[in-house]
């Protein structure tokens, strides 16, 4: 009886506090009061998100969180990363456990209409492919009829896989795993003939196989996977902040502003650069931040191109080409609305 009462009282109190707080404080205020950002990230994809032994995080998605922290606190280290599996990520964001989900998550309609999220933009254009053993001598994914395919559970990958085989009238056996690592090991151990995930992930995982030369990535890309950071619905200020952090990164690259030359560029006469770095107009105010918000981002984290190169591109062991992730001026799809 005692236990029940105490639990319930706490429960009720908690609920009331919750209502009261939910009505008042915006997420940005909460984050500022807390002193650090809580970011949901991927615990196991090198290049996108990977914690080391000591809990330090690196990766493309991780650096995006650091950019948001830099904009808010002028300090990219004020982020607490929470490792989320594909299964856990949505409930973690729904429940408010994380302020921001930056974990190679695909932007889909139902995730915005049914699950209560908003995607702040597309940080990485990806597509789904297949990894198969070289000795099978396959040249196309269309030859996979009857195969067993390892896939991570609870992802759009799982759905695209079903679509692809249904659309091409082929049969297959899906073998589901709760995390990517298990799925890859199962593929390596021979439980499956192919492993499927986003193309970027395939290159990463192939590098990590005991013998990378044994496997090849098939040429087909079977889906569109626009990956981006997601936030909860209901707080437009926060949504804008995250969205414009992404656009600031892309704009900075377009304008040639990077971490090394940002102080030099501050003296520039170009109005776009002056607006970006906060010398003309106070665009940070509308986001609830200071005028130098974008300056802070570029200064601490660099621009989009730098983040890409450092984690995925030439400056990383993965050596992924920019491809469609190049700026629109260079034949890619990365395009940011102007800051003005």
């Amino acid at each position: 009886m005692f236990k029940m009462n105490v639990v319930r009282t706490l429960f009720a109190l908690g609920l009331m506090i919750g209502c009261a707080q939910g009505a008042q404080a915006s997420l940005l205020d909460q984050v500022q009061k807390r002193g650090f950002l809580i970011c949901g990230s991927n615990p196991g994809v090198p290049g996108f998100g990977l914690p080391d032994d000591k809990g330090g995080w690196t990766g493309f998605d991780v650096d995006f969180c650091r950019a948001v922290a830099a904009a808010i606190f002028n300090d990219p280290t004020k982020v607490k990363f929470i490792a989320l599996s594909a299964k856990d990520r949505f409930t973690a964001l729904q429940s408010g456990e994380v302020d921001l989900l930056s974990r190679n998550t695909t932007w889909t309609l139902s995730r915005e209409t049914g699950q209560g999220f908003l995607f702040a933009g597309i940080s990485y254009y990806d597509g789904q492919g297949f990894l198969v053993r070289k000795k099978l001598n396959l040249s196309s994914a269309l030859e996979l009829s009857g195969a067993s395919i390892c896939v991570q559970q609870g992802t759009t990958t799982e759905l695209n896989l079903a679509d692809f085989f249904r659309g091409n009238n082929m049969k297959y056996e899906p073998v589901n795993f709760a995390n990517a690592e298990e799925a890859v090991r199962a593929y390596e151990g021979g439980r499956c003939d192919a492993y499927t995930t986003d193309a970027s992930g395939l290159y990463v995982e192939r590098q990590r196989l005991t013998d990378p030369e044994d496997s090849v990535v098939l040429p087909e890309i079977i889906s569109k996977e626009p990956l981006g950071p997601a936030v909860r619905q209901g707080d437009d200020e926060w949504f804008n902040l995250v969205k414009w952090t992404l656009y600031a990164l892309v704009n900075a690259e377009e304008l040639g502003v990077n971490a090394k030359n940002v102080d030099e560029k501050a003296k520039s006469d170009r109005p776009e650069v002056r607006r970006l770095l906060g010398f003309e107009g106070n665009f940070g105010e509308g986001l609830g931040l200071g005028a130098d918000w974008a300056y802070r981002i570029v200064k601490h984290v660099g621009n989009y191109g730098e983040i890409f190169d450092r984690n995925l591109g030439e400056g990383s062991p993965l050596k992924i080409k920019r491809g469609i992730n190049a700026l629109w001026t260079k034949g890619g799809l990365q395009y940011a609305p102007p800051i003005r």
Partner: protein
């Protein structure tokens, strides 16, 4: 007297023995091997057949097992290459290399002494509690259930005001997390289990219904779903900035689960108490709570010690399931270490599981022996 004087059927009836039964051979003294063989293992063709079949079974299982675990095992190696050699057995070098990870998870290297101290304190208190003849066991109970959780929390989680840096719980892992989950389950489930059991037996129908409902609800579902619920729904029910830590959630789930099972064990003990005890206590003028505290619970709890220990064994085995919500308990660390490409090989999984099995076996077997010992010890007085 003549046989007919007994009355009833005569001595020539079919079922009356004619003559004496021949005396049986004296019971075997099964001290010598030869007696054992002749009188037990090969006593008649059926026994012989059974013995031979069992021996065959042993011969089939034991030698490959021994070869894998001992004779063909790789005892030291810098990486997995030696273990991948054809015909190699268990890769103990892998266990040896990964032992710190299995024990502490990713707990920072220079802070691991804190885990050691916590575990040592826990071990001392538990031995003190379990040793039936130890002096001042009340004090031990007080320390274990009262002071120890607080000290352990401060040590493990950190307390900047006494100079211990915080260690985020997502770095915790390994054996120490398994023991932590089990200990929390035990420490919480005992008092709550007693309260729930008393509540269920209460004469207030609403209270007893609520307690019974809770107990049966929790016992009717798999622990995995309780853990899922704790993991995904607790944060939805509490305000955002109070969302419990990712390790705290499964701890709450395990505590709820263990309490419900404990309540049923305690209720069994309460039911075994004769009515006279209640009546006697009332006749002495004891109040309801005095009666429970001084008369009923001491008897009931003593009677259920074996049941409680068996519950602990089950709880300890169930701690492996917290992995489903992403906690790196001991088994999960073993299971993830086997995926390390440096070591990955055909024998690594079996080696890791063999090591984990030995660990769990030692703990659970020791607990079950202890339970038997206590049972016997208390039955002496009866």
């Amino acid at each position: 007297m003549a046989g007919s004087t007994r009355g009833g059927p005569g001595a020539n009836a079919l079922y009356v023995l004619q003559g004496n039964i021949p005396p049986r051979a004296p019971p075997l003294r099964r001290r010598r091997l030869i007696d054992l063989l002749a009188g037990n293992l090969f006593d008649g063709w059926r026994a012989s057949l059974l013995t031979i079949a069992t021996l065959l079974l042993i011969a089939l299982v034991a030698p490959p097992l021994l070869r894998f675990l001992v004779f063909d095992a790789v005892w030291s190696a810098p990486d997995g290459a030696a273990c991948r050699a054809p015909g190699a057995g268990a890769c103990w070098a892998f266990i040896w290399r990964k032992l710190p990870y299995f024990t502490y998870g990713s707990y920072p290297l220079d802070q691991r002494w804190r885990v050691d101290v916590t575990l040592a304190m826990g071990a001392v208190l538990i031995v003190w509690l379990l040793w039936l003849n130890a002096p001042r066991r009340n004090l031990a109970a007080l320390l274990f259930f009262g002071a120890y959780p607080i000290i352990a929390f401060l040590l493990l989680h950190g307390a900047p005001f006494i100079g211990l840096p915080r260690v985020a719980s997502d770095l915790w892992g390994g054996i120490f997390v398994s023991l932590l989950v089990a200990t929390v389950g035990m420490v919480v489930s005992l008092p709550f289990g007693v309260l729930l059991a008393l509540g269920r037996r209460s004469s207030l129908p609403a209270l007893s219904l609520a307690c019974a409902g809770f107990i049966e609800l929790v016992r009717g579902v798999p622990i995995i779903t309780v853990l899922f619920m704790a993991n995904t729904m607790l944060p939805l029910f509490v305000p955002e900035n109070l969302a419990p830590d990712r390790l705290l959630r499964p701890l709450i789930g395990v505590a709820l689960f263990a309490s419900a099972y404990m309540a049923e064990v305690v209720r069994g003990g309460l039911q075994a108490i004769p009515n006279g005890q209640f009546e006697g206590a009332l006749a002495l003028g004891l109040g309801r709570w005095q009666m429970q505290r001084l008369v009923i619970l001491p008897q009931a709890l003593r009677a259920v010690i074996p049941g409680v220990v068996n519950n602990f064994i089950a709880l300890f085995k169930d701690t492996t399931l917290v992995a489903v919500v992403g906690i790196f308990d001991f088994l999960r660390t073993v299971d993830s270490a086997r995926l390390d490409p440096v070591w990955a090989g055909p024998t690594i999984a079996a080696t890791g599981y063999a090591f984990a099995a030995m660990f769990y076996f030692v703990f659970c077997f020791a607990m079950s022996r202890y339970s038997l010992f206590v049972e016997r010890r208390f039955s002496h007085g009866r």
